[in-house]
């Protein structure tokens, strides 16, 4: 019994749509990969890559779009990029290029939450 899930608001950029063939499978699934970051309560931010399932005719989100995302997470043992597989993504309304995009349209909650279940080994 174990899980590691993050949820909260993430800013995404550099979106790219790529096919992925799962191991042992002959089918190809398309995903959008976004560069994002996990902001910390100390003010630092950690690099992360968000993978989002991309159905047919899907469009890539604009740079600096803020999304609400629930994702499975993997934190590598060293300072590598955090991997996030989105279970749910919803882009917040508004144009990221507007000056008042963050000021008036977005909630003041830039730090995502982590919820996990795990065992204590020692």
């Amino acid at each position: 019994m174990s899980s590691l899930v993050t949820f909260g608001f993430f800013t995404v950029a550099e979106g790219i749509r790529e096919p992925v063939q799962k191991p042992g499978s002959s089918t190809t699934t398309y995903y959008c990969f976004y560069t994002t970051s996990m902001q910390c309560s100390s003010g630092a931010s950690l690099p992360a890559k968000l993978r989002v399932y991309s159905p047919f005719n899907d469009t890539i989100l604009k740079d600096n779009t803020v999304v609400f995302a629930i994702s499975c997470a993997y934190f590598p043992p060293t300072q590598n990029t955090i991997l996030l597989d989105a279970l749910h993504v919803s882009a917040l309304p508004g144009d990221p290029k507007d000056n008042d995009y963050e000021a008036f349209h977005l909630p003041d909650c830039p730090i995502p939450f982590v919820i996990g279940v795990g065992s204590v080994p020692f």
């Binding site: 590691l4 309560s41 300072q79 991997l83 279940v117 204590v120 080994p121 020692f122």
Partner: protein
């Protein structure tokens, strides 16, 4: 217990299906209390020392499963991720029901009697390999 005699730390191993494979993240948590300026220990969770609600929270038992909820605080130069815990659930999962000892229950055993007429009410305690009936007769 850490060297400051106040803070407590423990590891937690979390696995999740990411990028089409099971990935395991090792998380290290610290119960953090006031007047502690150092974080001694890879993936750490922190009980916020400014909040007294954590002072009586015990360290999880070895081998137990916990659920935690919080935010990432920061990362150290060695890649240790530290977290602020906002909620923790200890001993998650199936709990074994303690079986009665081989000697049987501590209460004195009474020889059961056959009876043709029901006595009521009768309550039966489940989840044991014996039953105790409480009735209004003595």
């Amino acid at each position: 217990m850490l060297s400051d005699k106040v803070s407590k730390a423990f590891n937690v191993i979390c696995s999740e299906f990411v990028r089409d494979g099971m990935k395991t993240s090792t998380v290290q948590y610290v119960f953090y209390f006031p007047n502690v300026s150092k974080w001694l220990i890879s993936f750490r969770c922190v009980y916020d020392g400014s909040c007294p609600r954590w002072t009586k929270t015990p360290t999880p038992n070895v081998g137990s499963t916990i659920q935690f909820f919080g935010t990432v605080k920061d990362i150290t130069g060695t890649g240790t991720i530290r977290m602020n815990i906002e909620n923790i659930v200890l001993n998650v999962g199936h709990q074994e029901i303690s079986a009665p000892s081989a000697a049987g229950p501590s209460m004195p055993l009474k020889k059961r009697k056959f009876t043709a007429f029901a006595t009521s009410p009768v309550y039966v305690i489940l989840h044991t390999n014996y039953y105790v009936a409480h009735s209004n007769d003595s």
